[in-house]
């Protein structure tokens, strides 16, 4: 069994994560000192198996009982990761070409990613609530980044956002598209194909944008 802390700011430790093999377990006499609160948990084990602490949280409810919306039904909270192939690819492209990446490093970044997303989201959400709004918007996200020490991402993100808006703007007449303030009049030029894979399946096929926007208007 492997215990992980996840989505640190908001969630408690939940039970084992499927798919991570974890044979080693240290007897519960260790727990006497495991007085840290919800967060800090175990080392990543699997093939290492060196250092694993068992968390004593009988008091914690299982991850499936979270009082969230119904999205949990198919996923356990700590299992919500981005696909490792995608993550690994980004890592690979970031490090020098001949560099290697250990498998547990990839898995671990996968988890860090989920943590990062939650970290940003809860900060953005808080700001949103403070301003009595219900929908998290782009500004909330950018603000959260800045607050949490990722201000180095903000400028590049603004550029991407601008391009994104321009692309949407080319879809005049699409209902339900939220554009934010209007940006630029020129449409995307030919060197620019920024549309997320999730939106468009084929280059130039823009009708799928409708699907995307509709589905996110919940």
């Amino acid at each position: 069994w492997l215990f992980r802390s996840h989505f640190l700011s908001n969630h408690r430790v939940s039970a084992s994560s499927a798919g991570r093999s974890e044979p080693t377990r240290i007897p519960s006499s260790m727990d006497a000192d495991n007085s840290t609160t919800d967060a800090s948990q175990l080392g990543i084990a699997g093939e290492y198996g060196h250092y694993v602490l068992q968390s004593q949280d009988e008091g914690e409810e299982g991850m499936n009982d979270h009082d969230d919306s119904g999205i949990k039904e198919n996923f356990r909270e700590q299992d919500i990761y981005l696909p490792i192939a995608n993550v690994a690819r980004i890592m690979k492209n970031a490090v020098p070409t001949t560099g290697k990446i250990a498998k547990d490093a990839k898995e671990c970044v996968q988890e860090c990613v989920s943590e990062f997303i939650s970290f940003i989201t809860s900060e953005a959400s808080e700001r949103c609530h403070q301003e009595k709004r219900k929908t998290i918007n782009g500004e909330d996200i950018l603000f959260a980044m800045s607050t949490l020490g990722f201000d180095m991402y903000v400028e590049p993100l603004k550029l991407y956002l601008q391009k994104f808006r321009e692309t949407l703007k080319g879809e005049k007449g699409m209902p339900g598209v939220t554009l934010g303030d209007g940006v630029g009049d020129e449409l995307a030029d030919e060197s620019f194909t920024p549309l997320p894979a999730g939106i468009i399946t084929a280059d130039g096929q823009q009708q799928n944008v409708m699907v995307y926007t509709t589905s996110y208007q919940q």
Partner: protein, 121 residues
């Protein structure tokens, strides 16, 4: 309507997607929604978060690689990541999910030492 992007979630190979996103947006959204009190997320926020996540992965990978033993060994290991989380302020929030691995006996030993220290007070 069907979320057609599910089928193309893992696919960033589409030829036009040079400057696009290589992470599945729907999954990002799922993770975001799992935060408490999040009711809805607008499209831009989702896009920004997804993009930021890419930047984050790159940032974390490069920083860990450069700071750690990576430069000599030309590889990135778990402990590079754990060290980076501890040493780099930006990544401090990861320290709890990136504990350094130690041998159980070393841990037990340091426990002993801690108890002795406490006893001195």
């Amino acid at each position: 309507m069907k979320m057609s992007q599910n089928s193309s979630d893992k696919d960033d190979q589409s030829p036009g997607n040079k400057k696009g996103i290589s992470l599945p947006i729907s999954r990002v959204r799922l993770i975001m929604k799992s935060s408490p009190d999040v009711s809805s997320i607008n499209q831009e926020a989702l896009f920004l978060t997804t993009k930021a996540t890419e930047l984050f992965v790159q940032h974390l990978a490069v920083t860990s690689f450069n700071n750690g033993s990576g430069k000599e060994t030309n590889s990135l290991s778990y402990s590079d990541l754990a060290n980076t989380a501890e040493e780099t302020e930006t990544f401090h929030f990861l320290t709890d999910i990136l504990p350094k691995k130690i041998l159980a006996r070393d841990y037990l030993q340091s426990l002993e030492e801690m108890k002795e220290e406490d006893a001195d007070f």
